[in-house]
Symmetry: C2
């Protein structure tokens, strides 16, 4: 069971492991229930892409979809997930300078073609 629980956690973390999905969750947490259109307009991303990310979040039951007429309204299923993100923010700030270095290292944000990063030596 220990192992089941770990696989469960890993699965949830996997779903959270993408900036766009984090943005979606934060948006839903802060603004409440939202139709997909609002989501992708706010995120300035393609509809298909947002739908794909929503599918990932749905698969892990992190969000709930409510269909009304033409549209689908999404909302966060459990505020506990919002709390996880808050803890992360705390963590980020309590190690601020290192966190920024980390981001620098990740070279995130530049396009998506890059050599595998060399692992830094331990010593």
């Amino acid at each position: 069971m220990q192992d089941k629980l770990r696989r469960f956690k890993a699965g949830i973390f996997q779903a959270l492991a993408h900036p766009t999905r984090i943005a979606i969750i934060e948006f839903l947490r802060d603004e409440g229930e939202m139709p997909v259109t609002s989501l992708y307009e706010w995120l300035e991303l393609e509809q298909a892409n947002v739908s794909q990310h929503l599918a990932v979040l749905r698969a892990k039951h992190l969000v709930v979809a409510r269909k009304t007429g033409n549209q689908v309204f999404y909302s966060l299923r459990d505020p506990i997930i919002g709390r996880v993100l808050d803890l992360m923010r705390q963590y980020f700030h309590s190690h601020l300078s290192e966190s920024l270095d980390l981001l620098e290292d990740m070279r995130a944000g530049d396009g998506r073609k890059r050599k595998r990063k060399r692992i830094r030596r331990l010593t």
Copy 2:
């Protein structure tokens, strides 16, 4: 900055998104500082594999390595990460039956060769 923070969070979640790494973190949280040997003996995994996972955790500064003579002792850097895992456990239990279905869906634990899972229809 919103975006930086989201990339940071995504990076941490990515590091947490593997059952072995979760096991490592929980072990360090519960048992305190440990040399690598103890880790892989307890986990019953190959030394190289555990070392690779430790490299991932180190890269995100989730663990700290202290070298003493021959061995390297690892410990959790910040208890806040342990708290994140605790929240996840809570989450797991508060949606227990669904969580179990989810695991069933993931068909986790069986080998690592599998077709891409078909996404369940929304309606």
